[in-house]
């Protein structure tokens, strides 16, 4: 009696175990494919972005050809569109931003990793990271109501007076001080990417092995020499990668720029004049664009921005990945 029952339960348990194993195998396969599908969806999103931009801009490129990229004129009435002015504005504002943000950002990072008193390092570091997360529209509204009027009263008249009559510089800083314009947009961008560059540079500097720095100090180097001869050369690749990430952000930044650039589709040598960038043009005009060709031209601008930022970001990521490999190995 007892033995029969035991045999029965053994049989039953073997069968049920097999069933359980099968069920586990199926459910695991289902879950695996679910995660795989979600992962592939990430690729699909990027492909979808590229595809929709290409199809959306098809009409513009068919109408204007590659001349779209080299034409300055932007005339919604005559339906004649060219991307040169926004491309120029995007590049110039980003250059201004990097000229200010890179040295100051790296300076702050050096301060945080080398000279800052230890108890202050974490709070300042956290403050910088929190500021990197403040939405760009905040910088935009501040730029419009506070920063532009300030520049209009102070820096811009000063620049105009100082460089008046000097050949090249006078045309760079010509015209009435509007407040808004290319220079203002560049400076706002600089303030925006500053925390970003600072926190990346700080993280990158922190990867330098202490032994390397200690041996340099042991040889009698000063802190500045250790920074320029050990820390920066050691982190060079990742540092440039981080700067390019910041550049990618500056190139595509929309709201902070849209508020203060003035949205004028023309190329002027003066940095004080209103201009436009790719993203500002799209943000300002897209909902008001009448006609397929106008919309398509704005999407074509988006495609140009997508290609530029994709290249910059891809290079940046490759450089940062190289550093990670070095730190890991």
């Amino acid at each position: 009696m007892v033995s029969i029952a035991e045999a029965d339960t053994e049989d039953l348990s073997r069968e049920s175990r097999q069933r359980a194993v099968r069920r586990f195998a199926t459910s695991d396969a289902v879950f695996k494919n679910l995660t795989r599908g979600a992962a592939i969806l990430v690729l699909v999103v990027l492909a979808g972005v590229a595809f929709s931009l290409v199809t959306g801009s098809f009409l513009a490129f068919k109408t204007f050809g590659l001349g779209f990229l080299t034409t300055e004129s932007w005339n919604p009435v005559k339906e004649n569109f060219g991307a040169l002015a926004p491309i120029y504005g995007t590049i110039v504002t980003s250059i201004i931003a990097m000229v200010f943000a890179v040295p100051i950002g790296i300076g702050i990072a050096i301060f945080l990793t080398e000279t800052c008193p230890r108890p202050l390092r974490r709070p300042i570091g956290i403050a910088v990271e929190l500021l990197a997360g403040i939405p760009s529209i905040i910088y935009g509204i501040w730029g419009l109501f506070v920063f532009s009027p300030f520049l209009q009263r102070t820096l811009q008249p000063f620049l105009i007076d100082t460089f008046h009559g000097i050949p090249f510089l006078s045309s760079l800083f010509a015209g009435p001080p509007y407040g808004i314009g290319v220079l203002t947009a560049g400076l706002i961008l600089a303030i925006m990417v500053l925390p970003f560059i600072t926190s990346i540079a700080r993280d990158v500097f922190a990867t330098v092995p202490a032994v390397l720095k200690e041996s340099a100090y042991g040889l009698g180097m000063t802190t500045w020499e250790v920074t320029t001869k050990i820390v920066i050369p050691y982190t060079r690749v990742a540092l440039i990668g981080g700067i390019m990430l910041g550049l990618g952000r500056a190139l595509g930044e929309t709201m902070a720029v849209t508020f203060v650039i003035g949205n004028a589709h023309r190329i002027t040598p003066s940095l004080l004049a209103p201009g436009t960038t790719i993203s500002a043009s799209i943000a300002n005009e897209f909902t008001e664009a009448t006609g397929d060709l106008y919309t398509s031209s704005l999407i074509a601008l988006g495609l140009v921005l997508f290609v530029i930022t994709f290249i910059v970001l891809a290079i940046a990521r490759l450089m940062l990945a190289q550093m990670k490999k070095k730190a890991g190995g």
Binding site: G107, A127, I134, L251
Partner: protein, 279 residues
């Protein structure tokens, strides 16, 4: 080689410049926050949270944009988080050494810092054009696409931090892989994963560009996802650029609310992971 005195002098000068850079940078950012606080509090009142956006020249509040933002953010997180968690799970668990994972990680990192206005154009082509009109759901999906890479990234990173011995222990007692992932890996990584979601919410709560031509804006109270929907950032944009002073002061109030929300979320997210590190 320069003399010791010269080297020392150079060191002092350059390091002082670094300190100066830090002072300038921090002062700048401090000024922005102070201006925001002063102007924002000036525009803030009880009515901001209880009344609709007014026509120019009348009193009103920001209730409909606040609700619109909350609703679209909620949907974006509900859509973006599961997909992001699953994708991150694949990269950290099933496909850790796959070629596919490397490609996805690279593409995801690019999506993470791609200009958000491009996402707006994509959703415009994908949804607004096919549906024939602007809608709240299009805005929510645009935001979901911004949530996705943030969640993917943090999920993968956090799961990779879970020690393999935990997974092996789970497998040793006979649990199938997906049970190990769900009951062991997710549990161990939960604080970090929640942080990722909070950071994603912080990121989208200030996003303006992807909403401009997906959700558009709405002057009136509407929770209809199939119609244009107001959002706080777009309203700030529209009101700030208007010539009316009432609108401008509402824009400042909205900017202050947005910033406080974003900062609170970031700080909470940070505290969650900080506590984890202490343990």
């Amino acid at each position: 080689m320069a003399s010791f005195a010269a080297r020392k002098a150079k060191n002092t000068i350059m390091l002082s410049l670094c300190v100066l850079a830090a002072l300038i940078g921090l002062a700048w950012l401090f000024v922005i926050l102070m201006d925001l606080l002063i102007e924002g509090i000036g525009g803030l009142s009880f009515a901001v949270f209880t009344e609709m956006t007014p026509p120019p020249g009348e009193a009103g509040g920001l209730l409909n944009p606040i609700m619109g933002s909350l609703l679209m953010t909620f949907i974006a997180v509900m859509v973006g988080t599961p997909i992001g968690v699953l994708a991150g799970t694949y990269m950290a668990e099933y496909g850790r050494h796959d070629k596919l994972t490397h490609v996805i990680r690279f593409i995801n990192d690019i999506l993470l810092s791609a200009p958000s206005i491009i996402v707006g154009l994509f959703i415009y082509e994908l949804m607004v054009r096919t549906m024939g009109h602007f809608s709240g759901i299009a805005g929510a999906i645009a935001l979901a696409i911004i949530v996705l890479p943030v969640v993917v990234r943090t999920t993968e990173d956090m799961l990779l931090l879970v020690p393999d011995s935990l997974r092996e222990a789970g497998t040793a007692i006979g649990a199938p892989r997906w049970v190990v992932i769900r009951s062991v890996a997710y549990k161990a990584a939960s604080a970090g994963m929640i942080t990722g979601v909070l950071l994603a919410v912080a990121r989208i709560s200030g996003e303006t560009a992807p909403l401009l031509f997906t959700a558009l804006n709405n002057q009136f109270w509407s929770l209809n996802l199939n119609a244009p929907m107001a959002s706080l950032p777009v309203t700030i944009f529209q009101f700030a650029l208007s010539p009316y002073e009432d609108w401008q002061s509402l824009a400042w109030a909205g900017a202050l609310i947005t910033t406080l929300a974003v900062l609170t979320l970031s700080i909470v997210a940070r505290l969650l992971t900080a506590r984890k590190e202490d343990r």
